[in-house]
Symmetry: C2
Subunit: 240 residues, 2 copies
């Protein structure tokens, strides 16, 4: 099981979590770059797997969405599961890198925590829109064939958060909190919000116009979480 070396060269077309999905104009079966075929499958798979899960996505739907022949999934990725694994790696690796970079920040802990939340939000809303749903789906399905491969990523992210929290406690800016539970509540709220974005958009869209309320934007929610966490963790002046 080699480390997947996916050509990260092509930036995944930034389409929001709301995902009306501007279908990539891939009508033509004409000859084209094989790297483009791989890329189209990775892109289509990220969208469909995030939305419908592994079992809910057929190779037929993947190929159609990518504008590519079904057999090419096996040729390029060794099968549907191989494609899924490649997408998992391509999705989580950039997240890991951006998060781990936060360890070195010179900012005080509360600012670093705000930064972590901002990085999560930016990744989820702009860079890797499939990331929150894939994370949640993997963690919810204990028998998933790929959940064990996820562990290194989870460990690195948890480690970074723990690092920030412990520094905050040491510096007297955070009250004494359990780092794991704090991590779970923060990441859980963020992942839930972004993973359920499309469904929220749908629910709002189907409401009678009179009652229609705009769902919160990604940026607003990031700010909400930044405030909630820093205030909720803050060491209160009076206490020891």
């Amino acid at each position: 099981m080699a480390r997947v070396t996916i050509s990260e060269t092509v930036p995944p077309a930034a389409d929001g979590p709301g995902a009306a999905a501007p279908r990539p104009s891939r009508r033509r079966p004409e000859r084209r770059d094989p790297a483009a075929t791989r890329e189209a499958l990775l892109q289509a798979g990220a969208e469909l797997f995030a939305l419908h899960g592994f079992d809910g996505t057929s190779t037929d739907a993947l190929a159609r969405r990518a504008g590519v022949n079904k057999a090419l999934i096996s040729y390029h990725f060794g099968g549907k599961l191989g494609l899924y694994r490649a997408i998992l790696a391509a999705t989580f690796e950039p997240v890991r890198e951006r998060v781990v970079a936060l360890r070195a920040t010179p900012q005080p802990a509360p600012e670093a925590l705000r930064e972590f939340i901002a990085v999560f939000g930016e990744t989820a809303s702009r860079r890797q829109p499939a990331f929150p749903a894939m994370l949640v789906r993997e963690l919810i399905t204990p028998g998933s064939p790929a959940v064990s491969e996820l562990r290194p990523y989870l460990v690195d992210v948890l480690g970074t958060v723990r690092h920030i929290l412990e520094r905050g406690v040491r510096d007297g800016q955070f009250r004494e909190v359990d780092p794991l539970m704090t991590h779970l509540s923060m990441v859980g709220a963020l992942a839930f919000f972004f993973a359920t974005g499309p469904a929220r958009a749908r629910i709002v869209a189907s409401m009678p116009p009179a009652l229609k309320v705009q769902p919160p934007s990604a940026d607003a929610f990031v700010r909400h979480m930044q405030d909630l966490m820093t205030l909720g963790l803050a060491k209160r002046p009076g206490r020891s």
Copy 2:
């Protein structure tokens, strides 16, 4: 994957990934109460759908787990989807009732919010263990055939939380927060924690004993969330 021809009377060997599962002692195909059949299917379905999702659960697995003939799913529930819908209703209705009852509480808002979190935790960890995973799965899959039926439940729960939060703001105990975002962050963190409990247990179980850390208990996490939310929402003395 070799299909060994075993006499089908033999109880299916402990299967399922999650599956410690106190198998209901249903050896005999003898006549029995039809209500018991329905109940066994509802129970088995709640476990399997929560763990593997709708697409990931076959009628065969459902029937085997329930110790019941496959054809009875169609007879009693009109098919796999009918069973799923019945489980959805049976899972969410008790949650709705317990949550809505909180509207009438005479307690101050911060106490009421703590109570809401406790009710969620108790429901998720003891009464309806399938509830968090089913909630998350439904909300993550926008096209789910049942997601629209969920709306009344979501509206009632959100309404209750909003009610508590607005009362807290009015009474000067909470700072001015967006009720929807606050609801999403709180329920999101709770649902994520409980839905991912089984996976967390697995990950811990597969760790080398030296590094093994106990995952947080349900009660500890409830307390964590109670503190995080009440402190994070508290109106700070100095400010207006």
